[in-house]
């Protein structure tokens, strides 16, 4: 008998008792949500910004018209010499038109340029699939255009988040976006730049991933203030 058969057989031979009913996570979540003040776009934005600041991320409010210029200014201010971006996303055209120096497309398999990605790429720009207010979290959904390592290897990560896609909780995002119906190879939640407290419980940023996370929060003109 294989190890698999042995393990499954031992598990199936164990006394069963009365099987618990399926946990009602949705009901639980609905009750918790009902017990707290209703959230709206403005409160979600406020909580998100607070929490992101707590995680040491920067949030910059931008509009559909000015985000690429803001990104150019931020790159200049941070001395970014090369900015990695994804081709064929809904933001690519605006990005290319913004006059940002050192743009570098992620246009070939990493195997062909690993060294350059690790050693010679200052920053990256990616889109996001949404955000979570409660915890100050980005939902990142890498694909062929915006591969997984974009949000991990370059020391600075710029992420564009549409305020329309801010959810109150992880559970809300998961259900409303129907995650279990189709997950990508690698779905990610990201809350701030990478960090560690492994040396004498002292927090240090830039452990193995980005040292800086800058969220460009896409809002309406009147929300800029």
């Amino acid at each position: 008998m294989s190890a698999r058969d042995n393990i499954l057989q031992r598990l199936r031979a164990a006394p069963q008792g009365t099987a618990p009913l399926a946990p009602d996570v949705r009901g639980f979540h609905a009750a918790v949500s009902a017990a707290r003040p209703a959230s709206n776009r403005a409160t979600r934005m406020e909580v998100f910004c607070d929490k992101m600041a707590f995680w040491h991320a920067e949030v910059v409010k931008v509009t559909r018209d000015n985000w690429s210029q803001k990104l150019r200014e931020l790159c200049a201010a941070k001395g970014v010499r090369s900015l990695l971006y994804g081709e064929q996303t809904e933001y690519t055209a605006a990005l290319l038109a913004a006059g940002i120096g050192g743009l570098k497309p992620y246009d070939r398999p990493v195997d062909d340029w690993k060294q350059e990605l690790f050693e010679n790429t200052d920053a990256s720009f990616t889109s996001t699939r949404g955000g979570i207010a409660e915890t100050g979290t980005l939902i990142i959904w890498p694909d062929a255009n915006e591969p997984r390592l974009m949000s991990l290897v370059p020391p600075i990560h710029f992420a564009l988040l549409d305020a329309d896609k801010l959810y109150e909780t992880l559970f809300d995002a998961m259900i409303e976006q129907g995650w279990s119906g189709g997950l990508p190879t690698n779905a990610l939640l990201v809350s701030g730049p990478s960090k560690t407290a492994d040396i004498q419980v002292t927090l240090a940023y830039g452990a193995h991933g980005p040292k800086e996370l800058i969220v460009l929060l896409l809002v309406n003109e009147e929300e800029l203030a």
Partner: protein
């Protein structure tokens, strides 16, 4: 840093791959640890810090109770359906292109991994944090097979560099001070100068390990939650090394205990929320990394090959008993050790097992047998703190008492004996208890004993085994309680 220097570090890490020390010598090690004022200060400080951070995350005790109730329910439900869920997980992972392997014991698990590594002519494996890989002593097996396994979690990297094992499941290097790490890096990382700045120390580790991520043939990771319905492995981390290990090398091997599976993706958020809050007092970690397969055609990064190794190693023994099964509810948050008065005083190394503290005391007997571990369930004052903070409500004190009993007695009728059943049985202890039973069930004998013990109290031995190590000797009163009560009635 040049390649030659790097290979020196590797050689050092290899030669220092240590095995866990026998749990049976627990008492000797605990005595040494208790006398180490420096170690006690380190742990006390760190545990107080973690306790305060966790408490700040749960301001409302009523809300916490209901969250723990839900988390316990999810874990119990998942365990009740474990064989079905494992098969469902396997089906979905296989459909996603992941190769699933099963291992009954550490030898099988190591053989599976070493086979994969050999097939890819591996020189270097980079590892994300995985307690199961510690449990099977993978690093040692890899070294024996002539391949290097390098830890990349900062804490794990530090303890490996110093030839040690983790002393805490969440904070592996918690027993080390900043100054010790400063000296360690200056001595063992070629090219690194002496610095006491935590940021600079982390920068040194980052630079060394980034080079390793680029060159390693294989990345190994643990799993926090495996989702059966989607075939997804969830990894929880702050540093990003887990993402590096699972994304950069050409092959990713994930390893996990069979108990980590949940049925639905929606079962993850309640467990995840309690895990990070209970462990380090964070509302969320920097990353939740949800992996559902290797690189698909057209994708530009990610491993081309992916494996999952499902490890039993005693878990089916715990599963086969309805009370002991709750051990498998554990989500490895470490809160029970943070709150344990024994762990705080002796630190993680004294236990001699992969999992220290209360969770180690209840899981290690299944992995290693009671013969080697029967002393561990006695390393508790049964104060109950562990059970009170456990986010999935494992009744740890009850399980400790149960395991103490299993170590002292034969298996209960109708129960299969545990590995090492009755290992702590002692003829002397049995005789003492038989005598005690005889005395307390025969009134005449009891009165005679009471009379003798009080009248000849001067003959009570001054050395009373463990009792007098740190206490004054016990001595019977001048008269028995019965006599004293009778005298009082007369007054």
């Amino acid at each position: 840093m040049n390649a030659q220097n790097n290979s020196q570090i590797n050689a050092q890490a290899n030669t220092q791959a240590l095995r866990f020390v026998p749990a049976s010598e627990f008492k000797e090690r605990a005595a040494v640890a208790v006398a180490d004022a420096h170690l006690r200060k380190s742990f006390r400080g760190a545990m107080d810090f973690l306790i305060a951070k966790r408490a700040a995350q749960f301001p409302d005790p009523v809300a916490l109770e209901s969250q723990r109730g839900l988390a316990e329910h999810i874990r119990k439900y998942s365990l009740a359906r474990l064989p079905d869920l494992l098969e469902q997980l396997e089906r979905n992972l296989t459909a996603n292109g992941v190769q699933v392997h099963w291992a009954e014991n550490p030898e099988q698990a190591n053989a599976i991994i070493i086979n994969i590594a050999r097939r890819h002519s591996t020189k270097l494996m980079v590892k994300g944090k995985s307690m199961v890989s510690e449990e099977i002593e993978l690093n040692h097996a890899m070294a024996d097979a002539g391949m290097e396994a390098l830890e990349s979690d900062m804490g794990e990297y530090i303890v490996q560099l110093d030839g040690e094992k983790p002393s805490h499941i969440i904070m592996p290097a918690i027993h080390k001070t900043k100054l010790e790490i400063a000296r360690l890096f200056a001595a063992k990382v070629p090219g690194a100068g002496y610095t006491e700045s935590v940021d600079e120390l982390i920068g040194i580790g980052r630079a060394v390990l980034r080079e390793k991520f680029m060159t390693a043939e294989i990345g190994l990771s643990g799993v926090n939650f495996a989702v059966a319905e989607t075939g997804t492995l969830c990894l929880v981390e702050n540093e990003g090394n887990g993402r590096m290990c699972t994304t950069v090398p050409g092959v990713h091997i994930a390893i996990t205990g069979i108990e980590k599976v949940v049925e639905k993706l929606e079962h993850v958020p309640p467990l995840f929320a309690l895990l990070t809050r209970s462990a380090t007092g964070q509302a969320i970690t920097t990353y939740l990394n949800m992996i559902s397969g290797p690189r698909k055609p057209g994708e530009k990064d990610g491993p081309r090959e992916m494996h999952l190794v499902l490890v039993d190693n005693g878990r089916t023994q715990a599963y086969s008993d309805e009370q002991l099964r709750s051990t498998l509810q554990c989500i490895r948050c470490g809160a029970c050790m943070n709150h344990c008065p024994v762990y705080t005083r002796i630190g993680g190394h004294a236990y001699g097992t992969t999992y220290p503290g209360p969770i180690g005391e209840i899981i290690s007997p299944h992995m290693l047998g009671l013969a080697a571990t029967h002393v561990l369930p006695t390393a508790s004052s049964l104060c109950g703190a562990c059970g009170e903070v456990c986010p999935v409500k494992i009744p740890i004190p009850d399980l400790l008492i149960r395991l103490r009993g299993e170590a002292q007695h034969d298996a209960r009728p109708g129960h299969a004996p545990m590995l090492g059943q009755g290992a702590a049985k002692s003829a002397l202890v049995d005789a003492i208890w038989s005598g005690w039973a005889a005395l307390y069930t025969r009134p005449a004998l009891y009165r005679a004993f009471g009379w003798l013990a009080t009248r000849f109290r001067a003959l009570t031995p001054p050395m009373q085994s463990g009792w007098t190590v740190s206490r004054t000797p016990l001595k019977p009163a001048k008269r028995t309680l019965h006599e004293q009560m009778a005298a009082r009635e007369r007054r």
